[in-house]
Subunit: 230 residues, 2 copies
């Protein structure tokens, strides 16, 4: 998919005509990062925000001891760090590419000018921020009120709904990130995630082959994800 198509399906720019999209492209800069590159650091001055064109980016926090909490995995067509333009002057987290990645970069000033001439965009920003807010409320809820098995089950249910294919062995799909990264997204570490997966495997609820997951008992997984203890 090319840059223009990605931009058009990006919620931030929906409702814009060809002409406006061209303006958007004009004020942005294309940047490329190899896998594992640091895109920005926590507390670094926020000079702009990003749209992912291809690849994958993780936005995360680090504790002093080095434990990582992933806030969001950003996929093509999604934006990140847009909130940093409007509150505070620094990025509140780290951003790192998980694969070779291409992004469009919008400088703060250029983008603010763009908003001024296209009020529609500010409504899109409101929608985008509201969406993020919901995601964070869910994340807080999970971290504070749910155990690891519940969080894992919910993640698997969500992912299966998004990219699962039915087969005679149940719903099959591939993890979109490594298990270490998944652990970090769920607020835990790889050892604990491994044990949680094992518990689901041992009960015949899922099958795991590397990154390939098969959901064998959807109802059971649904129950666990809604809080019924394992």
């Amino acid at each position: 998919m090319n840059t223009n198509e990605i931009l058009k399906k990006c919620p931030l720019f929906s409702g814009l005509g060809e002409r406006e999209i061209a303006e958007v492209t004009a004020i942005s800069t294309s940047k490329r990062y190899p896998k594992g590159a640091l895109i920005f650091s926590e507390d670094e001055e926020a000079k702009g925000f990003f749209v992912v064109i291809s690849g994958k980016v993780k936005v995360y926090k680090l504790s002093l001891e080095g434990k990582e909490q992933i806030l969001h995995i950003v996929s093509p067509g999604e934006t990140f760090a847009e909130a940093a333009l409007f509150a505070g002057s620094t990025y509140p987290a780290f951003a790192e590419s998980l694969a070779q990645t291409q992004v469009l970069y919008f400088s703060k000033q250029g983008f603010l000018n763009l908003i001024r001439e296209n009020p529609q965009i500010s409504l899109n920003i409101i929608a985008s921020l509201s969406h993020w807010l919901r995601k964070f409320v869910s994340l807080v809820e999970e971290l504070s009120l749910k155990d690891i098995s519940t969080r894992l089950s919910k993640y698997l249910m969500d992912l299966s709904a998004k990219s699962g294919r039915s087969s005679e062995r149940g719903i099959e799909f591939e993890l979109d990130i490594s298990k270490s990264q998944l652990a970090s997204r769920l607020g835990t570490i790889s050892e604990t995630l491994s044990r949680a997966l094992k518990k689901l495997r041992d009960r015949g609820i899922i099958k795991v082959e590397g990154k390939k997951i098969s959901i064998l008992q959807k109802e059971a997984l649904e129950e666990i994800s809604s809080g019924i203890p394992l």
Copy 2:
């Protein structure tokens, strides 16, 4: 403080003239709640949002087992549930008054009309949502990466900066909520909070008399709040 003064200092309506403020007042409804009233429930249809005029409101999540996680304590001049108007159609959490409370209520439709005629407001909304987003990122970080003593120390440091008075015994201030509520805000339970306070007391870092807190060793508290283990 009267309603008009509160509205003027509310970030959502900053930059508006007397006339516009009058319009804002005109489309809103005043509501009063006794202490402990349920203002809305999770998953209830979001028909509008609120500005607190007087009193105090907690916005919170509940687990199946009944454990509570407070997302935010809303004070006079602050808004809540505004994000619910722009993403999803239901409230993502519960809201309950912690004291006798007066709010202004804005219906979704009325407020959307107001935005249309006052584009400045949409910029204010963006700022407000961005601010919330930062707060939630901090909350996620704390819940996932910090222990209770660290979270408590940070809360006390923040509160002392906001409402502390210097005295010969150190910085003094009052907790703005009950200790049970504070526990819930910090993602724990009252027993654990009580023990965390005791540890700080035993080391002579703070003094606790009911809701009155005195910070005796600011540097030590600062250290703990930044992650140096107790």
